[in-house]
C-alpha cells in the first residue's frame, strides 16, 4: 500500500468515527469538537486530491468560522448535557435504520456504477483545486453564479440582522 492509500484509509476512518461521535455525544460541546475533527479529516482528503486551496478554505471557513460560531451560541445559551432533550428510543432506532437504509442503497448503487468501477482516483494529478485554475474558472465560466452568491450572502445578512437585532 502506498502512502496515499494509507492516508486515505486513515482519514476516512477518522472522518467516519468522528461523525458517529458527533451524533452519539451527550454533551453538545463535545459534538461540536468532534465535528471540527471531521472537517479536518475532509480537508485532509482535499489535500490528497491536490485541491490545496479548497482544503485551506475548508478549514478557515468551516472549522474556523462556522464551528466557532456554533461554540459561541452553545456557550451563550449554556447548553449542556442536562438541557438536551432525550429522544424516544424508537425514534433513535428508526433514525438509525432509515439512515442505514439510505447508506446501503448508496453503497450498492456506487458499487455497481459503471463510471466508477475500475477507475482510479486522481490523486496528485488533478489541477482544478489549485488556486490559479480555480480562480480562472470562477471569474470566467462561473462568473454569474459567483455574483449571485454575493447577493445570497447579502440577503442572508439582512435576514439575520432583522432576526437578531435587539428590539
Amino acid at each position: 500500500m502506498s502512502t496515499s492509500e494509507i492516508l486515505f484509509w486513515f482519514l476516512s476512518v477518522l472522518a467516519l468515527f468522528s461523525a458517529i461521535m458527533v451524533l452519539v455525544s451527550k454533551n453538545p460541546i463535545h459534538s461540536v469538537l468532534w465535528l471540527i475533527v471531521v472537517f479536518f479529516a475532509i480537508s485532509g482528503h482535499y489535500l490528497l486530491l491536490n485541491a490545496q486551496f479548497l482544503a485551506i478554505v475548508n478549514i478557515i471557513v468551516y472549522a474556523g468560522a462556522i464551528m466557532v460560531l456554533f461554540l459561541f451560541v452553545i456557550m451563550l445559551m449554556n447548553l449542556n448535557k442536562e438541557t438536551e432533550p432525550s429522544r424516544n428510543i424508537w425514534m433513535k432506532f428508526s433514525g438509525v435504520i432509515s439512515g442505514g437504509l439510505l447508506l446501503w442503497i448508496f453503497v450498492s448503487a456506487t458499487r455497481s456504477a459503471g463510471e466508477i468501477v475500475g477507475k482510479t482516483a486522481m490523486i496528485k494529478e488533478g489541477s482544478i483545486g489549485l488556486i490559479e485554475n480555480l480562480g480562472k474558472v470562477l471569474f470566467t465560466q462561473y462568473a454569474l453564479p459567483f455574483e449571485i452568491s454575493s447577493v445570497l450572502f447579502l440577503s442572508a445578512m439582512v435576514g439575520a440582522v432583522v432576526i437578531g437585532k435587539k428590539q
Binding site: M91, S94, G95, L102, I105
Partner: protein
Amino acid sequence: MNNIAYLVPLFPLLGFLINGLFRKSLSKGTIGIIGCGTILLSFIVSLILFFDVKANGGVVVNYFNFIDVASFQIPFAFQIDQLSVIFLLIITGIGFLIHLYSTSYMHDESSEHFGRYFAYLNLFVFSMLLLIMGANYVIMFIGWEGVGLCSYLLIGYWFKNINYTNAAKKAFVMNRIGDLGFLLAVFWLLSKLGTANYVDVFEQASTGLSSTDVTAITLLLFVGAMGKSAQIPLYTWLPDAMAGPTPVSALIHAATMVTAGIYMIARSNVLYSLSPLTQDVVAVIGLATAILSATIALFQNDIKKVLAYSTVSQLGFMFLALGVGAYTTGVFHVMTHAFFKALMFLGAGSVIHAMGGEQDITKMGGLVKKLPITAWTFVIGVLAISGFPFTSGFVSKDEILLAVLAHSPVLFWFAVFAAILTAAYMFRLMMLVFFGGFRGTHEQEHHLHESPSAMTIPLIILGVLSLIGGFVQLPHVFGGEDFFNQFLAPIVPAVTHEGAEAATLEYYLLGGTIVILVIVYVVTKKLFAVDRFDGVYTGFKKVLADKWYIDELYNAVIVNPLDKLAGFLKNVVEKSGIDGIVNGVGKFVNYASRQLRLLQSGQVGNYILFMVLSIAVLFLVFWNQEIIVQFLQKIF
C-alpha cells in the same frame, strides 16, 4: 300560412305564462279576459288557416331542427292540413266557449286560484294544439304528455281534498302506461325507418316496414290511445276524473284530450290500413268498451259519472268506426260528440251550480221549471246523442252503424245494442234530473235559479251546433252532400255508401231509430220522471252500479303488490343498502383522516426522518418498477 301557424299555440302559451306568473297580482276580471281572449285569438287564426287549407291544401311548416343526432333528424314542424285544421277549430272553438263558461262557474275561487285555473287551462290548450299540429310523432308526443300533465293538474285542482288528488294520480299513472306503448311504437318506427315525420313515414310504410313491424307499431300506438282515450282496460281513470271542476270535465274529458287517441289513429290511417289484425283489435275493444260502459252508466246516481261513462262509451263507438276503416266517420263523430257532450257537461255544471254543489240525481228532479235554458239545451244534447233524426249525433252514429254493417253483421247488432243502451241511460238521466217532482231539500229548492249568461250562452251555442252540425255530412239519400268526407279526403280515406242498397239501409236505420226512441221515451218517463227515487240497487243491478268491480280487481292485482314492492325497496335496498354505502364512504374518509393526522407531529426531526425514509423507499420502488408494475397488472 307559414307565418301565422305558430300563433295558434303561442297565444295560449302566453296566456299560461301571464296568468301563471302574475296570478297573485291580477284581478279575476283581467285573468278571465286574458284566459278567454287568447283562445279566441287562436280560434280566429285557426279559421284563417281553415280557409287557407280549403283553398290551397295542406302544408308542412318547419321551424327548427329539434333533435339532430348522428343518423336522424327530428324537426320541430307543424303540419297544417285538413285533418289538423278540423281539430284546431274544434279545440279552439269549443275551448273558447268553455273558457267563457268557466269565468262564471269558477267565480267563487280566490283570484290566485282563479289565475291558477286559467293558467292550467291555457297550458292544456297549448299542449293539445301541439299534439294536433305536430308534423311528426315526436312533437305529437310532446303534446300528448303535456295534456296528460294538465289533466293531472286540473283533476287535482282542489288539491286539499285527498280523494281528488288520488283521482288525479290515478289518471296520470294510467295515462303513463299508455304512453309507454306510444313511445315504444315511436322508437320502433324510428329504428326501422329513421324518421318520425308523417309525410315520410306514410310514404315509406308499405315498402320500409314488414307486416310484423306494422302490426306491432299500430298495436303499440293503440295502447297509447287506450290510455289517453279511456278504452278497456285503461278506462277506469275517466269516471274518477270527474273530481275536477265541471268545465274541465267538459273540455278535457269529453271534447278534446280523450279524442287525442282518435286523432292519432286517424292520422296514422295509412299504417292501420296495412294491418288488418290491429284494425280488428281496435274495433272489438271499441265495441266492448262501448257496451260495458253503457251498462254501467245505466245505474249511476252521480250526474257527472253518467256523463263520464257515456263519454267512454262514445269513444268506444269512435274506435269501432276507426277499426272498420271508416276513418272520416270516426273523426266526424269526434266533432259531433264534442258538441253534444260538452253541451251536456256544461249543462250538468249549470245544474250543480243551481243545486249548490249537489251532484246526486236522486235528489234532483223537475228542474225544467226553474232552469229552462239549461234544461232544454240539455234535452237537445240528449236527443243528439241518442240519434234523434237529423241531429248531428244521428248523422254520425248512422254512418258508424252503416260502416260496421258493411264490415261485419255480428258487430253491427252489438253496436245497435250499444246504441239502444245509450239512448236508455241518457233518457233516464234527463228524466231524473229535469222532469218529475223535485226530490231535494227545501233549501236547495229555494236556491234553484237559472245560471248567468256567461254560462247559458255557451249552452245555447252548443245546442245549435248539436242540432245543425250534421248537415255537413248528410247522406245523399236525405239530400245532403258529404262535405266532411270530401274535405278530409286528401288525408283520410272515407268509406262511402252509394247506390240503392245504401239508400235502403238509411231508411231502415231512420225507421228503427224512431221506433227505439219512442219506446225508450215512454219507458223512462214512466220509471224515472217520478217524485220519489231512492237509487238503491240490488242483485245484478248492484254489480252494474258498482262498475263490475273492475277497480277493485285492479287494486288487488296491480296496485297493492306494487306498493309492497316499493316499500321493500325503500326500507331494505335504499335505507340499509345504498345509504349505508354512501355514509360508509364518508365515515371511512373521516377515519383515515384521523389516523393520518398523527403523522404531523410538529417535530422537525421526525419530518426529516420521514423524508429520508421516503427517499429510500422511492428509490427501491423505482429501481424495481418493472417488477412492481407487472405485479400490479396481474392483480388489476
